[in-house]
């Protein structure tokens, strides 16, 4: 069969990132901050904050991020797996003033590791650091836990717009590394079309080839 034609060095990585977290931890504000920060309101897609896309350029590598928000309510928990399958990264958000929301994060970590193994990059995010005084989850506990499960820990404030840019940038870098390691392991398996279904898609460097029909919300150009 004809090769995919990924001759050029310019690759575009498409990553899927799921956003997990209990109802009131502020995950929606977090992504909105991230996507609206550089750009104005108009860039919010027609699906508003539930599904966002962002294009990045990290060290010459193009990255298309698709950020999937999930419902935090208990009654939708059972439906989690169909949201996070094929994800390259997960952002697990808890509220530092709410011990319970941190426990929920732990549950998700277990589930994600069980279902997706170590290929998924996990970020555990303590949000609302503007409410430091009311903190109920200790920094050591959270960071210790993150390290023990191979995740990275971040502190953010959607309100003050703190730590969010770093969070996403870091995550993207890690996902690129994972994808590259994956490619190497597969022996540059360009002819394996079957791999496309899992996560990373490497697309020709064409302007609109990877864009979704709705149009990305943000563009770095």
């Amino acid at each position: 069969m004809a090769a995919g034609g990924t001759g050029g060095g310019n690759k575009t990585y498409s990553f899927k990132v799921v956003l997990l977290g209990e109802g009131c931890v502020g995950k929606t504000s977090l992504v909105l901050r991230y996507c609206e920060n550089k750009f104005n309101d108009k860039h919010i897609t027609t699906l508003q904050a539930s599904f966002l896309t962002k294009k990045l350029n990290i060290g010459g590598k193009r990255v298309n991020l698709a950020i999937w928000d999930t419902a935090g309510q208990e009654r939708f928990h059972a439906l989690g797996p169909i949201y996070y399958r094929d994800s390259n990264g997960a952002i697990l958000v808890y509220d530092i003033t709410d011990e319970d929301s941190f426990q929920k994060v732990k549950n998700w970590v277990k589930e994600l590791r069980k279902m997706l193994g170590n290929e998924i990059c996990l970020c555990i995010v303590g949000n609302k650091v503007d409410l430091e005084k009311e903190r109920h989850v200790s920094v050591q506990e959270a960071e210790g836990y993150a390290e023990s499960v191979g995740a990275k820990h971040y502190h953010t404030s959607a309100k003050l717009n703190k730590g969010i840019e770093e969070l996403f940038l870091d995550l993207c870098k890690r996902m690129i590394e994972t994808a590259q390691a994956d490619e190497r392991a597969k022996g540059n398996g360009s002819s394996q079309s079957g791999t496309a279904r899992r996560g990373v898609q490497i697309v020709d460097d064409e302007p609109q080839s990877a864009a979704t029909a709705g149009g990305g919300c943000c563009s770095s150009g």
Binding site: Q48, S50, R75, A78, T212
Partner: protein, 502 residues
């Protein structure tokens, strides 16, 4: 006198003989003429035949030459699979077709000139699909027919005309057995959902009381099954084009899927649980193999296209090509395909239906929609999120997965629009985007919209879409919308088990 008489007689005789001669001459002449004519004709025939043979030899030579050319394109592969072999043959016939027809060449040139113009790609493909003689079109029909041939016996087993007695038996049994199957679906959910509900006890106790009913019904079913047999396929396994008309004829029965198909899903459910389980396993295996066949067929068509029209081998045009192929491929087989999905997912559709009935008069708040995203009471008239509900109902109208997917995307967009509208009507001043709708808000609303859609087949439609959504769309907006719809549908299915309205 005597001489005179004979003289006169001779004259007459001579005259008569002359006439006779003329007549004979005429006759022989005619014979000569017809003979020569025949001879000429024979000669002509021989010449014509010789010419024809020469032409055939030439054609054959050309075919061989083209075939060789085709073979060269595959030269890299050492051992050929039967599929590659077929591909090779098909490519040969495409080359042959192109020698006789000019238009493919023009398209080729056009493609080369405008490699980034996707309208050229779709134009080319629709042009080919409107030309029944083109080898790709022939392949398409053959592949469609193969799928149809596999689907028909499975689906028709249930479509077989039923006697009134079975019909009533079914109707009666449906109601009582529903409870069993809903329980069953609870069990199945348990496995995946890891909720700790245990209904096995009630299932067994119920199934004993229902066994009699189910058995008699099953018997009757097998009887009718035998008497009608599987309606013999009118069309032979040979893949002639003409037989395809039968397919169209047959499919016209299914023209209106929402009207005729609901019956199909039900009979699978009214046998006793064990048989039902077995049957379900078999159906699922069928479904898997057919889905696989469809994927293979589409892949074959796509690679043949790319082989025939090289410039198509680019990510964007490939996608466009794929979309066009699917648009042609799915409509004739979709009704049957959906019927099979509905048989497999019948128990889930029943659960959905049950919730739908239970929540017929529910308001958005009853399924957990935040009050700020509900229309204010005063602004009533139409039902909340009416436009999204209407849009979602259109999903059964299309027969192509891609179109259905677009319908779901539009539904979600409309939900966001409506929600935005309702919210600003509550608090007109704040338009701050931090209050934008996230999944926490979206899913309850979507569940409400699904509930109001009156479309139990949504379960099966979504399951089918999941099989046929393009990989490229999987992580994009389309994928997100489909996933959300599936979640909402699953949630709705579980609603009736949650007891009282929240």
């Amino acid at each position: 006198m005597a001489a005179a008489v004979p003289d006169g007689g001779v004259k007459v005789l001579q005259h008569a003989m002359k006439l006779a001669n003329v007549a004979i001459q005429l006759v022989t002449n005619n014979r000569h003429k017809t003979l020569s004519l025949q001879r000429q004709m024979m000669e002509n025939l021989i010449i014509a035949r010789a010419r024809q043979e020469a032409l055939q030899r030439k054609m054959e030579k050309r075919r061989l030459r083209l075939q060789e050319e085709a073979n060269r394109s595959f030269s890299s592969s050492t051992s050929l699979t039967p599929e590659e072999q077929e591909q090779r043959l098909l490519y040969g016939s495409i080359l042959e077709y192109e020698q006789d027809h000019d238009w493919p060449k023009q398209w080729k040139a056009n493609l080369k000139k405008n490699p980034n113009d996707l309208s050229v790609v779709s134009g080319l493909i629709s042009c080919i699909f409107s030309c029944p003689e083109h080898p790709i079109m022939k392949l398409l029909k053959r592949l469609q027919y193969r799928i149809y041939n596999k689907l028909y016996p499975i689906v028709s087993k249930v479509t077989a005309p039923e006697s009134p007695s079975t019909a009533t038996c079914r109707g009666r049994n449906m109601k009582s057995s529903q409870s069993i199957h809903c329980m069953q679906s609870v069990q199945e959910n348990n496995k995946t959902n890891s909720t700790k509900l245990r209904h096995s006890l009630s299932v067994t106790s119920l199934s004993i009381t229902e066994d009699y009913n189910a058995n008699t019904c099953a018997k009757e079913q097998t009887q009718t099954g035998q008497s009608t047999k599987e309606p013999k396929l009118v069309v032979s396994m040979g893949e002639q084009d003409s037989s395809f008309e039968d397919l169209e004829q047959f499919l016209s029965q299914f023209e209106c899927p929402s009207a005729s198909l609901p019956d199909l899903s039900k009979p699978a459910v009214d046998v006793d649980p064990l048989i039902h389980k077995l049957e379900e396993g078999v159906l699922q295996a069928h479904l898997r193999s057919i889905v696989k066949d469809i994927h293979k067929s589409i892949d074959r068509l796509l690679s043949l296209y790319i082989l025939a029209f090289e410039p198509l081998n680019m990510a964007a045009s490939k996608d466009q090509c794929l979309a066009s192929i699917e648009e042609a491929f799915f409509p004739p087989i979709w009704p049957l395909l959906l019927a099979l999905f509905r048989k497999v997912y019948g128990h889930r559709e029943l659960a959905f239906e049950k919730s739908m009935r239970l929540y017929r008069n529910a308001k958005p708040g009853d399924v957990g929609v935040a009050s700020k995203l509900c229309p204010s009471e005063s602004a009533s008239g139409s039902c909340p999120y009416e436009s999204a509900v209407q849009e979602l109902r259109l999903i059964s109208k299309d027969c192509c997965p891609q179109k259905k997917l677009e319908c779901i995307v539009r539904t979600l967009r409309l939900i966001c629009e409506c929600a935005e509208e309702y919210r600003t009507s509550h608090e007109p001043a704040t338009l701050h985007s931090s209050a934008a709708i996230g999944a926490d808000d979206l899913l309850p609303i979507l569940s409400y919209v699904a509930l109001k859609s009156d479309l139990p087949q949504l379960v099966s439609e979504c399951a089918a879409l999941e099989e046929f959504i393009h990989e490229g769309y999987l992580i994009g907006e389309e994928g997100y919308c489909l996933t959300s719809m599936q979640s909402a549908v699953t949630y709705v299915e579980s609603l009736h088990k949650r007891g009282a309205l929240k």
